[in-house]
Every structure is written in structure tokens, then in C-alpha cells.
Amino acid sequence: ALYSNIATRKAEATQTVFKVVELTEGTINAAEWGKNFPRQYDTYKRTVDIERTRHGGSDAFQKLDDDPRWRVLFSGYAFGVDYREERGHAYMLSDQDTTERVTDFKQPAACLHCHSSIIPAYYKAGLEAGVPADEAHRQEAIMKGFEKVCAMPFAEGRKLVDHPVSCVDCHDPDTMALRVTRPGFLNGIKVLAKSSDPLPHLPSVERWRSGDRAREYDPNIDASRQEMRSMVCSQCHVEYYFKGEGKLLTYPWQYGLKVEQIEDYYNDVQWKDWTHKVSGAPVLKAQHPEFEMWSQGIHARSGVSCSDCHMPYVRDGAVKVSDHHVRSPMLNVARACQSCHRYDEEEIKSRVATIQDRTQKLMIRAEEATVALIKAIEAAKTAGASDNDLAKPRELHRKSQWRLDFVAAENSMGFHAPQEAARILGESIDYARQGEIEAIKVTPGGGARVSMVAPINPIQ
């Protein structure tokens, strides 16, 4: 019966790839691609759905109301005004348009790199900048245009794009093969490949390193398909900063992907995101280091890609397709996890909850320690401590807040690398409390009681 069952499904199967329209590098509109690949397009459209999970999901609530400590931690910076839970890909462009970080603050068009289907715009800008229009110079034109657009004011660049991430950003229109299109990532991974940070989870990089290095590492040439299943995501789900006057979007991977390696880079180039309004410290802002955190985890180490969990195969009649409804795997445990983990859904959810709750508890501890440090510096300043006195406490504020934010801004609440997330928070706490100590020591007349401790009945 089953065999005949399969046979009847076979007919259905052959309908899938049917070239209705020609697709080119210029075809940004996903609906066009949808004509050739209706199943993937159907799921892609579903990224508009709104559903909450214990620690994630797609309900764009205001994180600053959810945990007001962040208003203190971000004080003096745009993130202290509007910082929301992120949601589905369908919203990426409109959410960027409407965030107060854009409406109330000056931003460069570099922002658009990860919020729109922007490659054709880069290409055009490259040609205008004088790069020859032939196929041989295509990539050069894109990279040139990238530089040009990064430097524009947001509003000006915004006119060049009109579509959130689309098929062409991850797929070659001729072969449908995965590919990396984002200049930011192409530059970043090149630099990373040259670093000495061991990357066992990216075998193609290790292979390139042990080769003659005649040319630079290029994911579109070197990476395996399984690596591509993560790299297409890592085009955007990474830590970044805008380099120099040209606001060139840059991924800080020169020394490696770990939190302290990125910090070393920022220290070298004397980078700060802003000066903290209360403490006066030159602080850093971490942004969605999913790729960096995932890289430290056991899943990456085991060759498990972003797509394995966030775009699992779904059986659609007689064919399997990758679920393009990119979302929290907790909304799709059966497909995202159970093919590899044979536990029932409730069990899997509770394992994730254990990891995430542990991370959150420690994270709140780190938030309280860092807020206590900020208050201690404020107290010292009020009591008359000099900038010179405050140099060390501020330096420690920079270190503790960078580590805290690295875990907080990462969107899996520690799941992507549970032990690493806890280690980072432990260091954050250490630096925050050390800073508090330094601040108290430079406080004329000794600091007032700034940190609270829950008492237990002392034993004698």
C-alpha cells in the first residue's frame, strides 16, 4: 500500500520546479520568484505572523518598558529611547523606518545594508562612481557602491530601496544555489580568515588557512553548502560598527569572534559607540551577535546550521521544502529539533527554558551590578572626584557593559552557546563590581551604600 502511495505522490512531485518567469540579478520582487517557487514563497510571506515565546517570538514589545534597567544602561544613546523585540523578516524595512532611533536621530544609509534588498542599488551607485559596466567588474561595482551608499544620510539612501530581504539576497537566480551577497560579510569573513582564532566549525576557512593563500578567502567559492546554510544568515545577524567618516559598515573580526577579541579590536581602533550620560564612560553597544555566539556553541561545532533550526524542511505533500517562514524554532519544535532530538515537544521546550532561564537570571545579576557601578561613579563625581580619579572606574564600566550587552543583544537568551553566555556574564559582573570598588575608593569621604545585598541569618 505504502509503495503505491508513494507512486501516486510521485506525479504531484514533478510539478514543483516549473520555470514560469525569467529571474535575474535585478529581480528583487519576491512575488516574481514565487511564480517559479510557490511553496517557498508561501512560507516566506508568513514572516508577517506575530507570536510570542517564553524568551523570544515576534511580538515587537518595547524592551525598555519590559526591563527599565536598560534606560539607565543606555542613557545618552538612541537605544535608550526605543528598543524593541525583533520580529519577522517581512517587517525589517518598515520597522527601521518607524523606530525612533531613525525618526529622532541622525543615521547613515549604512543601516540599509541589512534591512533591504539593496544589491542592485549598490551596483547602480558603483556604475555611477565610474566602475565599468561589464560582468567582469560587477562585484567591484557592488563594493564601490556599498561604500558610496554607506556614506549617505539615511533618508537619501532610503530612496534607493523598497523591499525587505528577498530571494535574490541568498540565492543565485540562475542556479538557486545559496550565495553571500552582503559586502559587510564578504569583507568581514576575509579578515576573520586571516586571524589566528581557531574556527573548527568553519572547515572551509581552516582549509583555506592551510592552503597557499594565493587569493583571499571567498565564501562563494570556498564554503560548503552546509556552511552556506549559516553564512547567508550571518550576512546580517552579526556585531558591527560604522568605520570612520565614510560610515563604512564593518564587522570587527580582526582578532576573532569571541567577546574579548572583538573588544581588543575596538580598543585598538579607539572605538566607542557613545559617552555614557551618567558615568561619562566611553561605552560600546553590542548588536545581535548571533553568528558570533552560535560560533562558540556545541551546535556550530557539530555542523548544525542556522537553517537547520530556523528553516527546517517541511513536508508539503510529496515534496520537502525549506520552511522560509524564518522564526523562533520554539514555534516549530517538531521540525526544528525533533529530527535530531528524539524527545517529545514538551521535554525539548523545557530543556530550552532551563538554559534560557539560567541565562536570564545571571543576566539580571549583571545588569544590577552594572547599574550599581554607574550609580557609584555618579556618586563619586557628585562628591567631587576628578576625571582622572574616574578613569579606572569608567574603563571598568566599558568592559562590564560590553559583556553584559553582548549577551543581552544576542537574541537566543543564551541558547546558542549556554556556557559561553554564562562565562561572559560572570566576567561582566566581576568588572562591574571591581569598578564599584574603584569608584568608592576615589569618592571623597567614602561612597554611600550603593549596592544592596539580600541578608541571610548569619551563623556564629
Binding site: 512531485a13 542556479t175 538557486m176 544555489a177 553548502r225 552546509q226 515534496v319 520537502k320 521544502v321 529530527s339
Partner: protein, 157 residues
Amino acid sequence: MATSRRNRVVAGVVLSVMVGVLSGAAAFTFAYAEGTSYLSNDPAACMNCHVMREHHDGWSKSPHHAFATCNDCHVPHDLVGKYTAKAVHGWRHSKAFTMQDFHEPIRITPGDLKLVEQNCVRCHSSLVGDLPGHGGIGGNDVNCVHCHAGIGHGAPR
């Protein structure tokens, strides 16, 4: 590298068969160790070696039990390939079983995994046929067992 190992073994088999015909000793070993079991399609044949018992037990509990025998997955399905592979397995396993010099837990060789996944696709092409590069074959591809670990005889755990 897996294939070169295979070639060497094939040569070994051919040679040993010739020697076997002459002396009979190798042939006797091969036969006594049920190397010949490989020529059968009956999973019980694999059971002639206790070291295969767990895989058999796992298989008999797996969903595939109803659809696929050991050989459906573990040998190619063109006639020549089938008997070459069986000879190769038969010789390698008999030798290993006799010498007791194999790595435990037993692990499939890259070459044989490739072969197995060709069989996955042979049966499931209707389902996976459209997946890019889903020959599921090594190298630049995503292997079936990356996600369907232990599909044949239950997950290792």
C-alpha cells in the same frame, strides 16, 4: 581516500578468491565466517556475526523495518556493483571479525555512507528530488543522516 581503500580491498578480494580456489584456506575462512552471508538478502544473514546484532535489533524496531532490508540501504542496486560490494564487505568484515582488529564502536566508512545515501535518494527521490544537490552525497552536500541520524537502526542514543 575511502575509495582508494575500497580499491585496495577489491584487489585483495580478487586475489584472495584466486588464492582461495587454489589453496582453499582463505575460501574456508571466508565461508566459515559466513562471509557468504553477504550474498543473501536476508537480514538474518548479517546476524551471523554477533557484532551485527545490535544493528539488526535496532533495524527491526525502526520504521524502515517494514520497507527496507540491510541490503536495500547497504549495497548498490546495479547488479555488478551489488556483488562487488558484497564481496568487499564480506571479505573486509570476515577478516576484521576474525582478526578482531576493528575499531569499536563500529563506524560506517565514508564510502559506504555515500552508498547508503544513494539508496536513500533511490527510494525517496520523489520527496527530496527537488532539494538542491540532494544527492545527499558527501562533499559540498548536506547528508541525509546529518538530520536523520540513526534512521536505519535507531539513533545511537
